[in-house]
Amino acid sequence: MLAFPLQFLTTIGRTTRLALAATGQFARFTASGLRACVQPPFYPRLLGHQLLAIGYYSLPVVGMTAMFTGMVLALQIYLGSARFSAESAVASIVVIGITRELGPVIAGLMVAGRVGAAIAAEIGTMRVTEQIDALETLSTDPFRYLVAPRLIAAAITMPMLVLIGDIIGVFGAYVIGVNKLGFAPTVYIHNTWDFLEVMDVVSGLVKASVFGFIIALMGCYYGYQSRGGAQGVGAATTSAVVTASILLIGADYLLSEMFFAQ
Protein backbone atom coordinates (compact mmCIF):
# COMPACT_ATOMS: atom_id res chain seq x y z
CA MET A 1 0.00 0.00 0.00
CA LEU A 2 2.96 2.26 0.63
CA ALA A 3 4.36 1.79 -2.87
CA PHE A 4 1.83 3.95 -4.64
CA PRO A 5 2.16 7.23 -2.68
CA LEU A 6 5.93 6.80 -2.62
CA GLN A 7 6.07 6.36 -6.36
CA PHE A 8 3.79 9.33 -6.78
CA LEU A 9 6.02 11.54 -4.65
CA THR A 10 9.11 10.33 -6.49
CA THR A 11 7.54 11.35 -9.78
CA ILE A 12 6.67 14.80 -8.47
CA GLY A 13 10.16 15.18 -7.05
CA ARG A 14 11.86 14.13 -10.24
CA THR A 15 9.71 16.38 -12.40
CA THR A 16 10.32 19.36 -10.13
CA ARG A 17 14.04 18.74 -10.13
CA LEU A 18 14.16 18.49 -13.92
CA ALA A 19 12.12 21.67 -14.28
CA LEU A 20 14.41 23.55 -11.91
CA ALA A 21 17.51 22.24 -13.67
CA ALA A 22 16.14 23.34 -17.04
CA THR A 23 15.28 26.79 -15.68
CA GLY A 24 18.76 27.16 -14.23
CA GLN A 25 20.34 26.05 -17.48
CA PHE A 26 18.26 28.54 -19.45
CA ALA A 27 19.09 31.37 -17.03
CA ARG A 28 22.80 30.61 -17.31
CA PHE A 29 22.54 30.51 -21.10
CA THR A 30 20.77 33.88 -21.16
CA ALA A 31 23.36 35.43 -18.85
CA SER A 32 26.23 34.12 -20.99
CA GLY A 33 24.48 35.42 -24.10
CA LEU A 34 23.99 38.88 -22.64
CA ARG A 35 27.56 39.02 -21.38
CA ALA A 36 28.82 38.08 -24.83
CA CYS A 37 26.85 41.02 -26.29
CA VAL A 38 28.76 43.58 -24.21
CA GLN A 39 32.21 42.02 -23.74
CA PRO A 40 34.78 41.91 -26.54
CA PRO A 41 35.83 40.31 -28.81
CA PHE A 42 33.05 41.42 -31.15
CA TYR A 43 32.55 40.13 -34.66
CA PRO A 44 31.27 43.03 -36.80
CA ARG A 45 31.35 40.97 -40.01
CA LEU A 46 29.10 38.35 -38.47
CA LEU A 47 26.82 41.02 -37.05
CA GLY A 48 26.50 42.57 -40.51
CA HIS A 49 25.68 39.19 -41.96
CA GLN A 50 22.99 38.59 -39.33
CA LEU A 51 21.49 42.08 -39.77
CA LEU A 52 21.01 41.16 -43.40
CA ALA A 53 19.74 37.63 -42.76
CA ILE A 54 17.39 38.52 -39.93
CA GLY A 55 16.30 42.01 -40.92
CA TYR A 56 16.56 42.63 -44.61
CA TYR A 57 15.41 39.21 -45.79
CA SER A 58 12.39 39.31 -43.46
CA LEU A 59 11.08 42.44 -45.17
CA PRO A 60 8.88 40.70 -47.78
CA VAL A 61 7.24 38.45 -45.19
CA VAL A 62 6.63 41.23 -42.70
CA GLY A 63 5.54 43.67 -45.41
CA MET A 64 2.98 41.34 -46.92
CA THR A 65 1.45 40.23 -43.64
CA ALA A 66 1.28 43.87 -42.51
CA MET A 67 -0.47 44.83 -45.75
CA PHE A 68 -3.16 42.17 -45.41
CA THR A 69 -3.56 42.82 -41.70
CA GLY A 70 -4.20 46.51 -42.39
CA MET A 71 -6.71 45.65 -45.09
CA VAL A 72 -8.70 43.17 -43.06
CA LEU A 73 -8.59 45.42 -40.02
CA ALA A 74 -10.12 48.34 -41.96
CA LEU A 75 -12.87 46.12 -43.26
CA GLN A 76 -13.74 44.52 -39.93
CA ILE A 77 -13.65 47.72 -37.93
CA TYR A 78 -15.81 49.41 -40.53
CA LEU A 79 -18.40 46.65 -40.39
CA GLY A 80 -18.27 46.51 -36.61
CA SER A 81 -18.45 50.23 -36.01
CA ALA A 82 -21.32 50.53 -38.49
CA ARG A 83 -23.48 48.83 -35.85
CA PHE A 84 -23.30 51.94 -33.71
CA SER A 85 -22.70 54.45 -36.49
CA ALA A 86 -19.07 55.12 -35.63
CA GLU A 87 -17.63 54.49 -39.09
CA SER A 88 -15.62 57.71 -38.97
CA ALA A 89 -13.40 56.17 -36.27
CA VAL A 90 -12.04 53.49 -38.62
CA ALA A 91 -8.81 55.28 -39.54
CA SER A 92 -7.82 56.13 -35.98
CA ILE A 93 -8.68 52.69 -34.58
CA VAL A 94 -6.72 51.02 -37.37
CA VAL A 95 -3.59 53.06 -36.78
CA ILE A 96 -3.67 52.60 -33.01
CA GLY A 97 -4.32 48.88 -33.37
CA ILE A 98 -1.50 48.41 -35.81
CA THR A 99 1.18 50.49 -34.09
CA ARG A 100 0.45 49.29 -30.57
CA GLU A 101 -0.40 45.64 -31.10
CA LEU A 102 -0.78 44.04 -34.47
CA GLY A 103 2.35 45.44 -36.06
CA PRO A 104 4.79 44.11 -33.48
CA VAL A 105 2.90 40.89 -32.70
CA ILE A 106 2.28 39.76 -36.26
CA ALA A 107 5.78 40.73 -37.37
CA GLY A 108 7.10 38.95 -34.27
CA LEU A 109 5.24 35.74 -35.05
CA MET A 110 6.34 35.81 -38.68
CA VAL A 111 9.96 36.44 -37.73
CA ALA A 112 9.75 33.71 -35.07
CA GLY A 113 8.74 31.28 -37.80
CA ARG A 114 11.30 32.49 -40.30
CA VAL A 115 14.30 33.50 -38.25
CA GLY A 116 13.83 31.55 -35.01
CA ALA A 117 13.60 28.31 -36.96
CA ALA A 118 16.61 29.18 -39.12
CA ILE A 119 18.76 30.05 -36.11
CA ALA A 120 17.80 26.86 -34.25
CA ALA A 121 18.43 24.72 -37.31
CA GLU A 122 21.78 26.30 -38.10
CA ILE A 123 23.16 26.27 -34.56
CA GLY A 124 21.63 22.83 -33.94
CA THR A 125 23.36 21.42 -37.00
CA MET A 126 26.61 22.99 -35.90
CA ARG A 127 26.15 21.33 -32.52
CA VAL A 128 25.44 17.82 -33.78
CA THR A 129 28.24 17.95 -36.37
CA GLU A 130 30.71 19.04 -33.65
CA GLN A 131 31.29 22.44 -35.27
CA ILE A 132 30.61 24.14 -31.94
CA ASP A 133 33.18 21.89 -30.26
CA ALA A 134 35.56 22.75 -33.07
CA LEU A 135 35.00 26.48 -32.44
CA GLU A 136 35.96 26.02 -28.81
CA THR A 137 39.09 24.04 -29.64
CA LEU A 138 40.11 26.91 -31.92
CA SER A 139 39.98 29.32 -28.95
CA THR A 140 36.72 30.94 -30.03
CA ASP A 141 33.81 31.43 -27.66
CA PRO A 142 30.61 30.19 -29.34
CA PHE A 143 28.58 32.73 -27.33
CA ARG A 144 30.52 35.62 -28.79
CA TYR A 145 30.87 34.11 -32.23
CA LEU A 146 27.39 32.65 -32.74
CA VAL A 147 24.94 33.83 -30.09
CA ALA A 148 25.78 37.51 -29.58
CA PRO A 149 25.59 38.58 -33.26
CA ARG A 150 22.15 36.96 -33.57
CA LEU A 151 20.80 38.47 -30.36
CA ILE A 152 22.02 41.95 -31.25
CA ALA A 153 20.91 41.76 -34.88
CA ALA A 154 17.41 40.58 -33.95
CA ALA A 155 16.96 43.22 -31.24
CA ILE A 156 18.08 45.99 -33.63
CA THR A 157 16.28 44.96 -36.80
CA MET A 158 12.91 44.01 -35.35
CA PRO A 159 11.94 47.62 -34.53
CA MET A 160 12.96 48.68 -38.04
CA LEU A 161 10.90 45.90 -39.56
CA VAL A 162 7.93 46.82 -37.41
CA LEU A 163 8.18 50.50 -38.28
CA ILE A 164 8.10 49.61 -41.97
CA GLY A 165 5.31 47.11 -41.28
CA ASP A 166 3.30 49.80 -39.47
CA ILE A 167 3.50 52.10 -42.47
CA ILE A 168 2.59 49.36 -44.93
CA GLY A 169 -0.27 48.18 -42.70
CA VAL A 170 -1.76 51.67 -42.43
CA PHE A 171 -1.37 52.01 -46.17
CA GLY A 172 -3.25 48.73 -46.69
CA ALA A 173 -6.09 50.01 -44.54
CA TYR A 174 -6.05 53.30 -46.46
CA VAL A 175 -6.40 51.47 -49.79
CA ILE A 176 -9.46 49.59 -48.55
CA GLY A 177 -10.86 52.64 -46.78
CA VAL A 178 -10.67 54.83 -49.84
CA ASN A 179 -11.47 52.33 -52.59
CA LYS A 180 -14.00 50.09 -50.95
CA LEU A 181 -15.46 51.85 -47.94
CA GLY A 182 -15.83 55.24 -49.58
CA PHE A 183 -13.67 57.48 -47.38
CA ALA A 184 -12.23 60.61 -48.92
CA PRO A 185 -8.42 60.25 -49.10
CA THR A 186 -7.64 63.49 -47.26
CA VAL A 187 -10.15 62.77 -44.51
CA TYR A 188 -8.75 59.28 -44.01
CA ILE A 189 -5.17 60.53 -43.73
CA HIS A 190 -6.29 63.29 -41.43
CA ASN A 191 -8.08 60.90 -39.12
CA THR A 192 -5.08 58.58 -39.09
CA TRP A 193 -2.63 61.29 -38.21
CA ASP A 194 -4.67 63.34 -35.75
CA PHE A 195 -5.34 60.66 -33.19
CA LEU A 196 -1.95 58.99 -33.32
CA GLU A 197 0.33 59.60 -30.32
CA VAL A 198 4.08 59.18 -30.21
CA MET A 199 3.71 56.64 -27.42
CA ASP A 200 1.61 54.36 -29.62
CA VAL A 201 4.47 53.95 -32.05
CA VAL A 202 7.29 53.96 -29.49
CA SER A 203 5.68 51.28 -27.33
CA GLY A 204 5.30 49.10 -30.41
CA LEU A 205 8.94 49.52 -31.33
CA VAL A 206 10.12 48.71 -27.81
CA LYS A 207 7.97 45.58 -27.92
CA ALA A 208 9.48 44.70 -31.27
CA SER A 209 12.99 44.90 -29.89
CA VAL A 210 12.10 42.66 -26.95
CA PHE A 211 10.39 40.21 -29.29
CA GLY A 212 13.44 40.12 -31.53
CA PHE A 213 15.63 39.31 -28.55
CA ILE A 214 13.27 36.53 -27.41
CA ILE A 215 13.15 35.00 -30.89
CA ALA A 216 16.91 34.94 -31.35
CA LEU A 217 17.48 33.73 -27.79
CA MET A 218 15.10 30.79 -28.21
CA GLY A 219 16.62 29.87 -31.55
CA CYS A 220 20.13 29.94 -30.09
CA TYR A 221 19.16 28.14 -26.88
CA TYR A 222 17.35 25.22 -28.45
CA GLY A 223 19.91 24.95 -31.23
CA TYR A 224 22.75 24.95 -28.72
CA GLN A 225 21.13 22.24 -26.60
CA SER A 226 20.16 19.99 -29.49
CA ARG A 227 21.35 16.41 -29.41
CA GLY A 228 21.15 13.38 -31.59
CA GLY A 229 21.34 14.14 -35.27
CA ALA A 230 18.64 15.25 -37.68
CA GLN A 231 15.80 14.36 -35.33
CA GLY A 232 17.32 16.41 -32.54
CA VAL A 233 17.73 19.42 -34.82
CA GLY A 234 14.12 19.06 -35.96
CA ALA A 235 12.89 18.96 -32.38
CA ALA A 236 15.05 21.97 -31.51
CA THR A 237 13.58 23.95 -34.39
CA THR A 238 10.02 23.18 -33.35
CA SER A 239 10.71 24.03 -29.71
CA ALA A 240 12.40 27.28 -30.66
CA VAL A 241 9.46 28.51 -32.74
CA VAL A 242 6.75 27.35 -30.35
CA THR A 243 8.44 28.67 -27.22
CA ALA A 244 9.35 31.97 -28.85
CA SER A 245 5.76 32.46 -30.01
CA ILE A 246 4.29 31.76 -26.59
CA LEU A 247 6.84 33.90 -24.73
CA LEU A 248 6.31 36.66 -27.26
CA ILE A 249 2.58 36.88 -26.62
CA GLY A 250 3.22 36.69 -22.87
CA ALA A 251 5.79 39.46 -23.08
CA ASP A 252 3.34 41.45 -25.19
CA TYR A 253 0.83 41.45 -22.37
CA LEU A 254 3.39 42.41 -19.75
CA LEU A 255 4.77 45.24 -21.86
CA SER A 256 1.30 46.56 -22.65
CA GLU A 257 0.53 46.56 -18.95
CA MET A 258 3.80 48.37 -18.28
CA PHE A 259 3.19 51.05 -20.91
CA PHE A 260 -0.51 51.72 -20.68
CA ALA A 261 -2.01 50.49 -17.40
CA GLN A 262 -2.67 53.37 -15.09
Partner: protein, 259 residues
Protein backbone atom coordinates in the same frame (compact mmCIF):
# COMPACT_ATOMS: atom_id res chain seq x y z
CA UNK B 1 63.22 10.16 -18.21
CA UNK B 2 60.93 8.62 -15.64
CA UNK B 3 60.94 11.70 -13.41
CA UNK B 4 60.09 14.08 -16.26
CA UNK B 5 56.69 15.75 -16.00
CA UNK B 6 54.32 13.99 -18.41
CA UNK B 7 52.71 16.23 -21.04
CA UNK B 8 49.30 14.94 -20.06
CA UNK B 9 48.44 13.02 -16.89
CA UNK B 10 45.00 11.70 -16.03
CA UNK B 11 44.23 10.53 -12.52
CA UNK B 12 40.94 8.86 -11.65
CA UNK B 13 38.92 10.66 -14.33
CA UNK B 14 35.25 9.81 -14.01
CA UNK B 15 32.39 10.89 -16.22
CA UNK B 16 28.77 9.83 -16.19
CA UNK B 17 25.80 10.90 -18.26
CA UNK B 18 22.73 10.50 -16.09
CA UNK B 19 22.92 6.99 -14.70
CA UNK B 20 25.30 5.76 -17.36
CA UNK B 21 28.90 5.85 -16.19
CA UNK B 22 31.16 6.18 -19.20
CA UNK B 23 34.56 6.64 -17.57
CA UNK B 24 35.04 4.91 -14.23
CA UNK B 25 38.40 6.26 -13.16
CA UNK B 26 40.88 6.52 -15.99
CA UNK B 27 44.57 6.84 -15.14
CA UNK B 28 47.03 7.41 -17.93
CA UNK B 29 50.21 9.35 -18.64
CA UNK B 30 51.35 10.63 -22.01
CA UNK B 31 54.97 11.69 -22.28
CA UNK B 32 56.03 14.72 -24.26
CA UNK B 33 56.36 13.92 -27.95
CA UNK B 34 54.71 10.55 -27.55
CA UNK B 35 51.88 9.28 -29.73
CA UNK B 36 49.28 7.38 -27.75
CA UNK B 37 46.46 5.53 -29.46
CA UNK B 38 43.41 4.62 -27.43
CA UNK B 39 41.57 1.64 -28.86
CA UNK B 40 38.26 0.22 -27.80
CA UNK B 41 34.85 -0.71 -29.11
CA UNK B 42 32.19 1.72 -30.20
CA UNK B 43 30.53 3.56 -27.32
CA UNK B 44 33.25 2.84 -24.76
CA UNK B 45 33.81 6.50 -24.06
CA UNK B 46 36.88 7.14 -26.17
CA UNK B 47 35.54 10.42 -27.54
CA UNK B 48 34.37 11.45 -24.07
CA UNK B 49 37.93 10.92 -22.81
CA UNK B 50 39.35 13.30 -25.41
CA UNK B 51 36.61 15.86 -24.77
CA UNK B 52 37.33 15.79 -21.04
CA UNK B 53 41.03 16.42 -21.60
CA UNK B 54 40.48 19.29 -24.02
CA UNK B 55 37.82 20.79 -21.74
CA UNK B 56 34.71 20.37 -23.89
CA UNK B 57 33.17 18.21 -21.17
CA UNK B 58 33.76 18.63 -17.44
CA UNK B 59 34.78 15.37 -15.75
CA UNK B 60 32.75 14.46 -12.64
CA UNK B 61 35.83 13.57 -10.64
CA UNK B 62 39.56 13.13 -11.00
CA UNK B 63 42.35 15.32 -12.16
CA UNK B 64 43.81 16.18 -15.54
CA UNK B 65 47.26 17.73 -15.64
CA UNK B 66 48.69 19.36 -18.75
CA UNK B 67 52.39 20.18 -18.39
CA UNK B 68 51.96 19.46 -14.69
CA UNK B 69 49.18 22.03 -14.17
CA UNK B 70 45.61 21.13 -13.25
CA UNK B 71 43.15 22.00 -16.01
CA UNK B 72 39.90 20.66 -14.55
CA UNK B 73 37.62 23.53 -13.58
CA UNK B 74 39.49 26.21 -15.52
CA UNK B 75 37.28 28.93 -17.02
CA UNK B 76 37.47 31.97 -19.21
CA UNK B 77 40.92 33.27 -19.98
CA UNK B 78 42.84 30.49 -18.23
CA UNK B 79 40.90 27.86 -20.14
CA UNK B 80 41.54 29.70 -23.40
CA UNK B 81 45.23 29.82 -22.57
CA UNK B 82 45.38 26.04 -22.13
CA UNK B 83 43.31 25.45 -25.26
CA UNK B 84 45.94 27.14 -27.37
CA UNK B 85 48.15 24.14 -26.76
CA UNK B 86 45.65 21.83 -28.42
CA UNK B 87 44.61 21.03 -31.94
CA UNK B 88 41.92 18.51 -32.74
CA UNK B 89 40.77 16.62 -35.81
CA UNK B 90 37.13 15.70 -35.33
CA UNK B 91 35.53 12.48 -36.47
CA UNK B 92 33.44 14.11 -39.18
CA UNK B 93 36.09 16.84 -39.62
CA UNK B 94 33.56 19.41 -38.27
CA UNK B 95 34.46 22.00 -40.89
CA UNK B 96 32.51 25.26 -40.63
CA UNK B 97 30.20 25.14 -43.61
CA UNK B 98 29.60 28.89 -43.56
CA UNK B 99 33.28 29.45 -44.43
CA UNK B 100 35.32 28.27 -47.39
CA UNK B 101 38.24 25.88 -47.06
CA UNK B 102 41.07 28.31 -46.51
CA UNK B 103 39.02 30.33 -44.01
CA UNK B 104 38.45 27.09 -42.12
CA UNK B 105 42.16 26.33 -42.02
CA UNK B 106 43.02 29.90 -41.06
CA UNK B 107 40.26 30.13 -38.42
CA UNK B 108 42.47 29.49 -35.41
CA UNK B 109 45.04 31.96 -36.72
CA UNK B 110 42.56 34.78 -37.42
CA UNK B 111 40.12 34.38 -34.53
CA UNK B 112 42.35 32.67 -31.98
CA UNK B 113 45.65 34.45 -32.59
CA UNK B 114 44.49 37.69 -34.19
CA UNK B 115 46.57 37.23 -37.31
CA UNK B 116 45.81 39.48 -40.30
CA UNK B 117 43.67 37.82 -42.97
CA UNK B 118 46.21 38.17 -45.76
CA UNK B 119 48.97 36.59 -43.70
CA UNK B 120 46.65 33.88 -42.39
CA UNK B 121 45.56 33.06 -45.92
CA UNK B 122 49.13 32.48 -47.02
CA UNK B 123 49.73 30.27 -44.00
CA UNK B 124 46.52 28.35 -44.64
CA UNK B 125 47.55 27.67 -48.24
CA UNK B 126 50.86 26.45 -46.85
CA UNK B 127 49.08 24.08 -44.49
CA UNK B 128 46.84 22.82 -47.30
CA UNK B 129 49.96 22.04 -49.34
CA UNK B 130 51.34 20.14 -46.36
CA UNK B 131 48.34 17.82 -46.39
CA UNK B 132 48.57 17.43 -50.14
CA UNK B 133 45.84 19.82 -51.27
CA UNK B 134 46.36 22.44 -53.96
CA UNK B 135 45.65 26.15 -53.67
CA UNK B 136 42.53 25.72 -55.85
CA UNK B 137 40.91 23.74 -53.04
CA UNK B 138 41.28 26.73 -50.75
CA UNK B 139 38.40 28.60 -52.33
CA UNK B 140 35.96 25.69 -52.38
CA UNK B 141 33.21 25.34 -49.82
CA UNK B 142 33.42 22.34 -47.44
CA UNK B 143 30.25 20.85 -48.95
CA UNK B 144 32.10 20.40 -52.26
CA UNK B 145 34.75 18.13 -50.71
CA UNK B 146 34.90 14.35 -50.53
CA UNK B 147 35.25 12.59 -47.16
CA UNK B 148 39.01 12.15 -47.52
CA UNK B 149 39.51 15.78 -48.49
CA UNK B 150 37.41 16.95 -45.54
CA UNK B 151 39.63 14.96 -43.19
CA UNK B 152 42.71 16.52 -44.77
CA UNK B 153 41.31 20.02 -44.43
CA UNK B 154 40.40 19.19 -40.82
CA UNK B 155 43.96 18.06 -40.26
CA UNK B 156 45.34 21.22 -41.84
CA UNK B 157 43.09 23.28 -39.55
CA UNK B 158 44.24 21.33 -36.49
CA UNK B 159 47.94 21.86 -37.24
CA UNK B 160 47.68 25.45 -38.52
CA UNK B 161 48.30 26.99 -35.10
CA UNK B 162 51.22 24.60 -34.54
CA UNK B 163 49.82 23.17 -31.31
CA UNK B 164 51.88 21.20 -28.81
CA UNK B 165 49.19 18.56 -28.44
CA UNK B 166 47.14 17.00 -31.22
CA UNK B 167 43.99 14.91 -30.82
CA UNK B 168 42.62 12.70 -33.55
CA UNK B 169 39.08 11.39 -33.13
CA UNK B 170 38.59 8.33 -35.36
CA UNK B 171 40.77 9.78 -38.14
CA UNK B 172 40.14 6.97 -40.64
CA UNK B 173 36.49 6.14 -39.98
CA UNK B 174 34.46 6.17 -43.16
CA UNK B 175 37.44 6.27 -45.51
CA UNK B 176 38.54 3.66 -48.03
CA UNK B 177 41.75 1.71 -47.20
CA UNK B 178 43.94 3.80 -49.48
CA UNK B 179 42.67 7.13 -48.18
CA UNK B 180 43.01 5.77 -44.62
CA UNK B 181 46.66 5.06 -45.30
CA UNK B 182 47.14 8.54 -46.73
CA UNK B 183 45.63 10.08 -43.61
CA UNK B 184 47.69 7.84 -41.33
CA UNK B 185 50.88 8.88 -43.07
CA UNK B 186 49.89 12.55 -42.91
CA UNK B 187 49.20 12.24 -39.20
CA UNK B 188 52.56 10.62 -38.54
CA UNK B 189 54.30 13.25 -40.67
CA UNK B 190 52.52 16.21 -39.07
CA UNK B 191 53.01 14.99 -35.52
CA UNK B 192 56.68 14.40 -36.19
CA UNK B 193 57.25 17.75 -37.90
CA UNK B 194 55.55 19.63 -35.09
CA UNK B 195 57.18 17.51 -32.41
CA UNK B 196 53.72 17.32 -30.93
CA UNK B 197 52.27 15.00 -28.34
CA UNK B 198 49.38 13.10 -29.85
CA UNK B 199 46.39 11.15 -28.62
CA UNK B 200 44.33 9.34 -31.20
CA UNK B 201 41.27 7.23 -30.69
CA UNK B 202 40.30 4.59 -33.16
CA UNK B 203 38.98 1.10 -33.61
CA UNK B 204 40.94 0.73 -36.81
CA UNK B 205 43.92 -1.44 -35.83
CA UNK B 206 45.82 -0.77 -39.04
CA UNK B 207 45.66 2.90 -38.18
CA UNK B 208 46.64 2.26 -34.56
CA UNK B 209 49.72 0.26 -35.55
CA UNK B 210 50.77 2.99 -37.95
CA UNK B 211 50.30 6.00 -35.69
CA UNK B 212 51.04 4.72 -32.20
CA UNK B 213 54.14 4.68 -30.06
CA UNK B 214 52.01 3.29 -27.29
CA UNK B 215 48.54 1.79 -27.20
CA UNK B 216 45.94 1.82 -24.44
CA UNK B 217 42.74 -0.13 -24.51
CA UNK B 218 39.60 1.36 -22.99
CA UNK B 219 36.87 -1.02 -21.95
CA UNK B 220 34.01 -0.66 -19.51
CA UNK B 221 35.19 2.78 -18.45
CA UNK B 222 38.70 1.68 -17.51
CA UNK B 223 42.05 1.32 -19.21
CA UNK B 224 42.34 -2.47 -19.29
CA UNK B 225 45.75 -2.62 -20.97
CA UNK B 226 48.49 -0.29 -22.07
CA UNK B 227 51.87 -0.88 -23.61
CA UNK B 228 54.16 -0.20 -26.54
CA UNK B 229 52.58 -0.85 -29.94
CA UNK B 230 55.05 -3.69 -30.58
CA UNK B 231 53.57 -5.61 -27.66
CA UNK B 232 50.01 -5.32 -28.91
CA UNK B 233 50.07 -8.83 -30.40
CA UNK B 234 51.68 -10.50 -27.39
CA UNK B 235 49.84 -8.70 -24.64
CA UNK B 236 48.27 -11.94 -23.35
CA UNK B 237 45.39 -9.71 -22.27
CA UNK B 238 42.06 -11.35 -22.96
CA UNK B 239 40.36 -8.03 -23.86
CA UNK B 240 43.09 -6.97 -26.25
CA UNK B 241 43.27 -10.42 -27.86
CA UNK B 242 39.58 -10.49 -28.47
CA UNK B 243 39.62 -6.97 -29.88
CA UNK B 244 42.58 -7.32 -32.23
CA UNK B 245 41.40 -10.69 -33.49
CA UNK B 246 37.84 -9.45 -33.87
CA UNK B 247 36.25 -12.41 -32.09
CA UNK B 248 32.63 -12.31 -31.02
CA UNK B 249 33.41 -14.64 -28.08
CA UNK B 250 35.45 -13.43 -25.13
CA UNK B 251 35.37 -11.17 -22.09
CA UNK B 252 33.91 -8.29 -24.11
CA UNK B 253 30.19 -8.84 -24.47
CA UNK B 254 28.65 -7.14 -27.42
CA UNK B 255 25.02 -6.31 -26.85
CA UNK B 256 23.28 -7.51 -29.95
CA UNK B 257 19.71 -7.60 -28.75
CA UNK B 258 17.94 -4.28 -28.48
CA UNK B 259 17.48 -3.22 -24.89
Amino acid sequence: MTDAVPKIRLKGVRKAFGRKTVLKGVDIDVAKGESLVVIGGSGTGKSVLLKCIIGLLPPDAGSILVDGAEVVGLRGRERAEVRRKFGMLFQSAALFDSLNVWENVAFGLIEGRGMARREARAKAMDMLARVGLGADVGNLSPSELSGGMRKRVGLARAIATEPEILFFDEPTTGLDPIMSEVINELIVKCVRELGATAISITHDLGSARKIADRVAMLHGGNIVWEGPVAELDKSSNAFVDQFINGRAEGPIHVEVAAG
